[in-house]
Subunit: 461 residues, 2 copies
C-alpha cells in the first residue's frame, strides 16, 4: 500500500473517525476465535452511508483490503484483520431508523445489537424472533453476514427469513437498495438473498429492514433427561408431532457439568447422559395437560428418564440457562469449535458415525456436545488439555475436522451450519460445496468486488 | 446455427425425444401471453438429468439458445420461443421422487404440476401451501423460475420459502446440488436463492426438494362488499389485527361482472364498487363469533356495506370462485396485464395516483382490478376494445405501462410482483432495479451462462 493512502483517506473524508492506537488495533482486529494475532492497518468508524461509500472507493483506488466489522462475536474468524487490512467498524451506525406499523417492519443501521432490535420490536407489541446467546453483543449486520440461526429456528427459521430489504455498498462502491421491503417482487435475481450469508465478501450492509411478527402464545419450558442417544430422535419425533415446538435443544452430561461449574442451578438430580431443553406453546390448561400426557407417554416407553416442567418464569429462565450458558462456561478452556449440520432425517446415522470417530480420534480430550436437534445442527466443542500447546492442539483438531468433513460429505451435511466459513472452515469448504459451486461463487465474488478488496481470504481462499 | 447441429444432438442422445412438426412447434413455442408468434427450432423432451446436461453441452458448442419450458402458463413471455430457440420441455420429468417424513420434504421432478404436488403432500397428511388458480397446469419448475406467489402468501410466503434444495443444470452444463435440504447451512453464497426467480436464465431446475407443513386449522370464508377504496385498507387492518388471516383478496365490481358472466353465482345482491374474499382460522365457535363481531364492528363503522359468511364447503368454494375465476373469465378479451406491487403501507397513496392515471389515460377502455391486498400486489387487466387492432392496443397499453412504471418507481414498487419480467416487462426493468443492480445481474448471468444460451433476451435485454 502507498504509505500516504491513509492520510489521503483522512483528507478525503475529514469527519471520518480513524483509530490507529495499538490498543484499538488489537480490540477491533479480532473476533471470538482468538486464533490469529490482530494486525490491522487502522480502524475506520464511519457514521454514514456516504462515509462507507467513500472508504470503499478509496480502498479500490489504493487496493487496500477492508474487513467489515460488527460485534466481532463470530466464531469463524470472518471479522479477523491479521494482514494489514482496514477494519470498517459499523459500531457508530447502530440506530433504529424507523418502524412501519402497516408493513410491520423495523429499519435499522447494521451496527445495532440483536438485543436492541428485539427490544425495539417489543416496544411496538411485536417480536424479532431470531435469538441466540450472543444477543447482547452481536450486531444485526453480522447476523446477516452469516445468516445467523440460533435457538428458535425450528419455529422461525434463520435470519434470511426476516430480511425484507437491505441497503448495501457493493465492492465497487455502488449503493444498492435491495428489495425495499416488498413482499412480492419477481423482477430478476434476488441480490438481497445473495448478500445474506456472504460474510462481508460481496458488500457491506449499511441498512436493514427487518420483518417483525406477533409474539408467540404463552409457552412452557421443560428439561428432559434421556437415557441414551437413540431416545433423542424418538422424543423429538413424539414432541414435534403432538406439541407446537418453539425450541428443542440438546446437550450432554459433560456440557451440563461445565455450565453447573459456572454457577447454573442443577434442576434434575442424578446423572444422565443426555438432556433436552424444550419450549412449546401452552395457551391454556388443556395444552399443559397435553404436554404432560406426551411426557408421561415417553417416560412409560423408557425414552425419558426424568424431567422438570418450569413452574414460573424464573424457573424457565433457570432451565434455559443450562443450555444457553454452555458456550460461555467453555470459553476458559479455549475450545475448538465445530458447527455442523445434516438433514434432520440423517441425524441418527451421522451421529453414530461421528461418536465412533471422536472416541477413536480424541481419546484423551474432553468433547462437549450440544445443539439444535430440530434443525439437524450440532455443536461439537473440543477442550484444550492444559498439557498441549495451542499450536499442537489446533493441529490435532484440524486432523479430526478433516475426518469429520469427510463423514459430513457422505451424509450430505454442512461444515458450517450457522457460524460461517471465515478463516476457520475455509480449508473444508470443498466438503460442503462442489468444485462447480465454488467456481461459480468465485465468479460472483469477482462481479461484486472486482478488485477483491472486501474481506479477502475469508470464505474463499 | 450449423444446420447439422440438430442431427448431431440426435446422434449424441439417441433416446432423446425431439419434435419438429409444425403443430408441436406452435404448441410448445408459446405461453399464455399469445403476443409473439412461436418459431422454435425444435422441441426436446428429455427424460433424465443426463439428457438435460447433454442438451446444454450441445447448445454451448453450437451456440443454440435454449428456452426451458414447464406448463407455459406464464404471463410474461418467459417461455416463449420466437427466435429459433430449442425448447427444452420438462414435461416428461414430472414424477414424485421421494417423501421424507422426518424432514417433512417432498422431492419432485420439475415438470410436475403444482396440483399434483399439493395432492402428494396431502397423501402424507401435510400440505404444500403455495397455491393459485393455474395449479392444474403450471409446473413446479416454472413456479421456482418466477418465485410464484398466489393467494396464500399472506400466511405462507412465496415459493422461495418452500424450496429446501434444488438440483440445477447451470448454463455451463454443470449439475449443481444446491443446499440438499439442510435447514442450516452457512457455507457461502446461497446459489439456490439466486436460481429462484431467475426465469431460466441461469440454470435449468431438474429436481426440487420442497418443504411441507401441517394443514392449517379449520377456516371460514367471507365475501365482503365495500363502499369505497378507503374502506379497503381499514378493513384489512382491522381483520389482520383481530383474525388469523389465510387470505385477503380484493376485486372490483367490473371483475365481478365478468366472473358472473362466465357462470359464477352471485352471492350478494346489490351493486358495490369493491369486494373482498377473505379466509381465516376459525377453529371453534368462539373463533367464529369473534369473526362475526369484527365483521359487525366494520359494518357499524360504515366500512363494510354487506357480507356473506360461507355456511358450507360448497358455499366457500362458490365464494372463492368469484375471485379465482376472474383471470379465466377475462381471457376471451385478450387482456393486457399489469402485475405490480408496493409495500403494504404504500398501497393507499399509490392506489390514489394510479386510479387517477388510469381514468385519464384509458377513458375508453375497460380496466379490471383485483389483487392480493395483504401482499401489496395488484393485478390491473386492460381489456381490448373490439374496435382496436392488436398492435394498436398493445401500443396504447405500453404507453400507460411506462407512466405506471414511473409512478411505481416513485413509490418504491415493483413492475412484476409474481409473473416475472420475461419479454413483457423487460423494457420496464429499470423502474424497479437500479442501473447498478442490472449491471450486477448481467455479471451474474455471464458467470452462470458464459455463452448466453439460456433463455436469451428474457429478463435482461
Amino acid at each position: 500500500m502507498n504509505p500516504s493512502a491513509l492520510a489521503e483517506l483522512s483528507s478525503r473524508l475529514p469527519a471520518l473517525r480513524l483509530l490507529t492506537e495499538p490498543g484499538d488495533l488489537e480490540h477491533y482486529g479480532r473476533d471470538w476465535t482468538r486464533r490469529w494475532p490482530p494486525a490491522p492497518l487502522a480502524i475506520a468508524l464511519p457514521a454514514s452511508v456516504e462515509e462507507v461509500q467513500g472508504i470503499v472507493r478509496w480502498a479500490n483506488q489504493h487496493k487496500v483490503a477492508i474487513v467489515p466489522s460488527g460485534g466481532r462475536t463470530g466464531l469463524s474468524g470472518g471479522a479477523v484483520a491479521a494482514q494489514g487490512e482496514l477494519v470498517l467498524s459499523l459500531a457508530r451506525m447502530s440506530r433504529v431508523l424507523g418502524f412501519d406499523a402497516v408493513d410491520r417492519t423495523l429499519t435499522v443501521q447494521p451496527g445495532i445489537a440483536l438485543e436492541a432490535v428485539q427490544a425495539a420490536a417489543r416496544e411496538h407489541g411485536l417480536i424479532y424472533p431470531v435469538d441466540f446467546a450472543a444477543r447482547g453483543s452481536c450486531s444485526i449486520g453480522g447476523n446477516i453476514a452469516t445468516n445467523a440461526g440460533g435457538i428458535r429456528v425450528i419455529r422461525y427459521g434463520n435470519t434470511r427469513e426476516w430480511i425484507a430489504g437491505l441497503k448495501v455498498v457493493a465492492g465497487n462502491g455502488e449503493l444498492l437498495d435491495l428489495n425495499r421491503a416488498l413482499i412480492k417482487n419477481s423482477s430478476g435475481y434476488d441480490l438481497r438473498q445473495l448478500m445474506i450469508g456472504s460474510e462481508g465478501t460481496l458488500g457491506i450492509v449499511v441498512e436493514a429492514t427487518l420483518r417483525l411478527t406477533d409474539p408467540p402464545p404463552a409457552s412452557q419450558v421443560m428439561l428432559l433427561a434421556l437415557p441414551d442417544m437413540d431416545a433423542l430422535m424418538q422424543v423429538f419425533a413424539l414432541f414435534r408431532a403432538r406439541l407446537s415446538l418453539q425450541a428443542f435443544e440438546f446437550f450432554t452430561e459433560v456440557a451440563l457439568k461445565h455450565v453447573l461449574g459456572a454457577g447454573a442451578q442443577r434442576a434434575i438430580e442424578g446423572d444422565y447422559p443426555y438432556y433436552v431443553v424444550t419450549e412449546f406453546d401452552a395457551v391454556d390448561e388443556r395444552a399443559q395437560e397435553m404436554a404432560l400426557a406426551v411426557f408421561e407417554q415417553a417416560v412409560e416407553q423408557g425414552l425419558i428418564a426424568d424431567g422438570v416442567m418450569a413452574q414460573s418464569e424464573a424457573q424457565a429462565a433457570a432451565l434455559w440457562r443450562l443450555r444457553e450458558g454452555i458456550t460461555e462456561s467453555l470459553a476458559v478452556h479455549r475450545p475448538y469449535k465445530n458447527d455442523i449440520s445434516v438433514r434432520i432425517g440423517a441425524v441418527p446415522g451421522f451421529l453414530g458415525q461421528i461418536q465412533a470417530l471422536l472416541a477413536r480420534e480424541y481419546p484423551e480430550m474432553e468433547v462437549v456436545w450440544f445443539g439444535h436437534i430440530g434443525d439437524g445442527n450440532l455443536h461439537i466443542n473440543v477442550l484444550k488439555p492444559a498439557s498441549l500447546s495451542d499450536a499442537d492442539f489446533i493441529t490435532q483438531c484440524e486432523h479430526v475436522t478433516k475426518l469429520l468433513a469427510d463423514t459430513l460429505q457422505r451424509h450430505g451435511g454442512s461444515i458450517s451450519a450457522e457460524h460461517g466459513i471465515g478463516l476457520v472452515k475455509r480449508a473444508y469448504l470443498e466438503s460442503t460445496r462442489s468444485a462447480a459451486e465454488i467456481a461459480l461463487m468465485r465468479g460472483v465474488k469477482a462481479v461484486f468486488d472486482p478488485n477483491g478488496i472486501l474481506n479477502p481470504g475469508k470464505l474463499l481462499a
